[in-house]
């Protein structure tokens, strides 16, 4: 259903073009600026170099930097700066030769292998495998011996041999794109292969190509300077960066300074190319909550002390004004804004909404298990009288498994692929109790029987990849029940399963809930699941709860236009032979959410005042709240 409603959120970055996105970052500006300046200076060396790079002056040897010689002079009294500028020319040329050869080999082969597939793909990949293992340096040395120290031939060879890495990545991208719907559609419409390759595949590979080119350019400079350092490039007195390091090495004890300009410039150039490549990779990667290696400092996790007050009431779990932000490479993004709901002992609360509404983040935030770049920025999660957002690691560890347990969306991904099922379950059992190994094993078999897994002894010996998704979810449920929790958080427990298995797993969950009396927080987007399994429902939209009520009341008459629209678009609720009403538009991604009512752009009832202020949760009756100021218009509808 969520597929009907939402289109995957896309970052504006892609449309703005890679170059602009790169230049929007400080790293991008600094590295690109440095490289452009360096290349320009080297190309203009005959014009701007202060001295002839070959002009010797034996009365001024090994000087340190001065007004006359900004970077000093070498052992023959030549101006170091001028030699660096001239030497850079050969490095840049070598880099271009290497990169051109790499792109010329990698792009056509990668696109062809990925797009055509089949035997051609297999042969190319096999060859690439072999070439990856070739000790490149020996080939380069052989080339230099045979071609009389021609760096150009060596660099072209380097490009050809080094193409396999880039080719693999392009092939992967081309394969993915090939399987996408719009490409199949274009094929059906009769676009030729060439057209598809040039219109659809190559533009999408642009980011990958730039990243790989940039990293390879760094490698090429490294190799070229290394070869010239070994004296395998143009013969002296021609200036090369590697050659200058080599010359500096002869005067190590008397003039160590000479190592700095040449080696430093090589390092800076390689560094700039490498960082530029990384920057392009970062700006072309896309995910709202992708960390890009960022972490939130623990100090930031602390919510505002003044805001929090433990509400009285009997709820087992009471989430109040919970806000969560993620630190992404593009800045801080608020994903949850003031989420509130209650869950009593023994009840099942369905948390419902489209993809991107924040359901799963809420579930993880309750357990204080957000990703490293996410943090609670406000509000509280009161469980059994304690605020979990301010609990210490130790307190949380004591709660997890024994008081609150979790089963997640992708049962296969929830099990550690490297350990046998029995060993994982046994470890969880033993972390709750001080059972012996054998006793724990017996308890594991018991649990596996409880979740109706066939042949537990045999099953315990298997690895996760050897069982089906339905079985994996039963294993996960067994693991969650190992500590007899009071609250089970089930994050879309059946979404990834076959339809036939879904019903079984839900029936199992209902049975276990009846038997154990635990409360369940059930994240789902499926109204059928809500109707079958839940006592209450909380509907989420764009990081907020928009309605919470007992199930019968919601199904009787939704009290928020979004709830109504969501129910109308549910395939199983739609009357036969009528088209499903998909909600027009998409959930606004975090960071682009409108002021006022967040649903107003997609809402039939919206009026001017919906945009004026943030809409609060309004209490409609004892058990029901809604975040809409026009509920009276809805209530009249059946």
């Amino acid at each position: 259903m969520s597929d009907l409603l939402s289109t995957p959120a896309e970052f504006p970055v892609r449309r703005r073009g890679v170059l602009r996105a790169v230049l929007a970052t400080a790293r991008g500006r600094i590295t690109a600026g440095f490289l452009v300046l360096l290349f320009a200076c080297c190309l203009l060396a005959p014009v701007i170099a202060p001295a002839d790079p070959l002009h010797q002056n034996l009365r001024e040897i090994l000087q340190t930097p001065s007004g006359a010689h900004w970077l000093g002079t070498d052992n023959l009294g030549r101006d170091v700066l001028s030699r660096l500028l001239y030497g850079g020319r050969s490095s840049i040329v070598a880099m271009l030769e290497g990169v051109a050869a790499q792109v010329a080999v990698a792009v056509p082969l990668g696109v062809a292998a990925g797009y055509l597939g089949g035997r051609f793909d297999r042969i190319v990949m096999r060859l690439a495998d072999i070439v990856m293992s070739v000790p490149v340096i020996v080939i380069l040395l052989a080339i230099l011996a045979i071609f009389d120290h021609s760096i150009a031939v060596a660099m072209i060879t380097l490009g050809v041999l080094g193409a396999s890495g880039m080719m693999r990545i392009i092939r992967g991208t081309a394969m993915t794109i090939r399987q996408e719907l719009y490409v199949s559609a274009a094929e059906l419409l009769g676009l030729s292969r060439t057209q598809i390759i040039f219109r659809h595949i190559l533009p999408r590979c642009r980011g990958v190509i730039i990243v790989q080119t940039s990293l390879f350019a760094a490698l090429a400079i490294g190799i070229q300077t290394g070869l010239t350092f070994l004296g395998l490039g143009p013969p002296p007195p021609a200036a090369t960066w590697g050659g200058m390091v080599n010359e500096a090495a002869t005067t190590l004890s008397t003039a160590p300074w000479l190592l700095v300009p040449s080696g430093g410039l090589i390092a800076l150039t390689v560094l700039a190319l490498g960082v530029l490549g990384d920057t392009v990779r970062d700006v072309t990667a896309q995910s709202h909550t992708s960390s890009g290696g960022l972490r939130v400092k623990s100090a930031k996790r602390r919510p505002d002390a003044a805001q929090v007050s433990v509400p009285e009431g009997t709820a087992l779990l009471s989430v109040r004004d919970l806000s969560v932000s993620f630190l992404t490479p593009r800045g801080e993004v608020e994903v949850l804004s003031g989420v509130s709901f209650d869950l009593d002992a023994g009840q099942t609360l369905g948390l419902v909404g489209e993809s991107g509404s924040g359901k799963s983040v809420t579930a993880r935030a309750v357990l204080a298990l957000l990703e490293a770049n996410g943090a609670v920025t406000g509000g509280s999660v009161i469980f059994d009288g304690r605020d979990l957002t301010r609990a210490t690691r130790k307190e949380l560890a004591a709660l997890r498994g024994t008081r609150i347990a979790l089963i997640s969306q992708e049962p296969m991904a929830a099990l550690d692929p490297s350990f046998r099922i029995g060993s994982q379950l046994s470890e969880i059992v033993r972390s709750h109790t001080d059972l012996s190994r054998e006793a724990a094993h017996r308890r594991v078999l018991e649990l596996m029987e409880m979740v109706e897994l066939p042949d537990p002894e045999e099953m315990a010996k298997r690895y996760p990849f050897q069982i089906s998704g339905g079985m994996a979810q039963r294993v996960a449920i067994a693991a969650a029940l190992a500590g007899s929790p009071d609250l089970l958080i089930a994050d879309e427990p059946t979404t990834a399963l076959d339809v036939t298995v879904q019903a079984d797993v839900l029936a199992l969950l209902r049975r276990l809930q009846r038997e154990t009396g635990m409360a369940v927080l059930l994240v789902t987007h499926d109204w059928g699941v809500v109707a079958d399994s839940c006592t209450h429902v909380a509907v989420m939209y764009a990081g907020q709860v928009v309605e919470q009520a007992p199930v019968e009341q919601v199904f009787g008459a939704p009290a928020h236009p979004y709830t109504a629209a969501l129910m109308a678009s549910s395939p199983e609720k739609a009357p036969r032979r009528t088209p499903i009403d998909a909600i027009a538009g998409a959930v606004p991604p975090p960071g682009t959410r409108p002021d006022g009512c967040r649903f107003r752009d997609r809402c039939a009832l919206s009026a001017a005042d919906c945009a004026e202020t943030d809409i609060p949760l309004v209490r409609l009756n004892e058990e029901r709240v809604s975040r809409c100021i026009r509920t009276e218009l809805l209530q009249v509808q059946p």
């Binding site: 000790p135 190590l252 490498g274 290696g293 560890a397 997640s408 490297s418 470890e427």
Partner: protein, 313 residues
């Protein structure tokens, strides 16, 4: 597992053929040959022709390749066109030097890289930023330059270690150790930083997986999560990258051996390149390729042990 190893051994044959064919083939298509290299520019046509007959250079290249291959199968890699010395024996005598450099470097890179990367991923904070920054420098700074800086500091200024030269382990174990410390350090910098970075990235990725969340959510202790589950799962990609780093070290060894004047395979190959001595380079090519094959076998074996999918099937 067995199949993986067999597959890898089978792949090593085309690899050896490709390396030798590239070098042999290129030499054949380029004008000028061993005879003119040996005799220099002042050679008379008659003496050149005589030498060509003697060296068998008038045969088509595929025949000569066949000869070479036949010899190579019996561990005979021909003779140097400069010194006339048997290539196999001169390679054998230098192999120990190169391995003295490579093996400690690989071990140091693996141990220090994994430890630093793991610690920085689970701790984060300053150590994490430090690894990120240092790995950039490890990537950017040429190993031969770092080597010279180390020499300036430890050999020239502090006079603690020899600047150049190599001592045989059998003659003097301490001398051997002293002679390899700086080369190993210089060559390790890149290895340690790239392994550390790879480990850090992988561990951070594994820390965010569903199964780590699941284990934590259901009460497994943080210690077990980190040292049992995360370490074990991160090991698989890290081991793969260790293989790539080790293969890359062969290139680094060529530069480092030249800086420290170590009589290993790399300095031999460099001298041979300056002398246009193709048989020697070809020999080094075979040895280096065998090193790559050995590294890949070790990595495959470790991979098979770590990955239950490979182990079980």
């Amino acid at each position: 597992m067995g199949r993986l190893i067999v597959h890898r051994v089978a792949m090593s044959i085309p690899l050896l053929l490709i390396v030798s064919l590239i070098i042999f083939g290129l030499e054949a298509v380029v004008p000028g040959d061993a005879a003119s290299t040996i005799l220099g520019q002042n050679a008379t046509p008659e003496s050149l022709a005589a030498l060509r007959v003697q060296l068998g250079l008038n045969d088509p290249w595929i025949v000569r390749y066949g000869h070479w291959l036949g010899g190579a199968l019996h561990a005979d890699l021909g003779t140097s066109i400069i010194s006339g010395v048997d290539v196999t024996s001169s390679l054998n005598s230098r192999l120990a030097v190169t391995l003295s450099l490579l093996v400690p470097t690989m071990l140091l890179s693996a141990v220090a890289g994994i430890a630093l990367g793991f610690a920085s991923a689970v701790r984060g904070g300053i150590l994490g930023r430090f690894i990120d920054v240092v790995s950039l420098f490890g990537f950017a700074v040429p190993s031969f330059w770092i080597a010279l800086i180390l020499v300036t500091f430890f050999a020239v200024h502090l006079n603690l270690l020899p600047a150049t030269g190599y001592q045989d382990f059998a003659t003097s174990p301490t001398g051997w150790l002293k002679s390899i410390i700086l080369p190993v350090l210089a060559l390790s910098l890149q290895g340690i930083t790239s392994v550390a970075k790879q480990t850090r990235d992988t561990v951070m990725e594994v820390l965010e997986t569903d199964y780590v969340k699941f284990l934590r959510a259901n009460g497994v202790s943080e210690r077990s999560v980190r040292y049992r589950h995360v370490l074990r799962n991160a090991a698989i990609p890290v081991v793969t990258s260790l293989g790539l780093v080790s293969v890359g070290m062969l290139s680094g060894a060529v530069f480092i051996e030249n800086v420290f004047v170590l009589p290993g395979l790399g300095s031999l190959a460099t001298q041979a390149t300056l002398d246009h001595d193709v048989p020697v380079i070809l020999g080094v090519g075979v040895f280096f390729t065998l090193c790559v094959i050995a590294i890949n076998l070790v990595i495959d074996f470790a991979y098979g042990l770590l990955n239950p999918k490979v182990r079980v099937s």
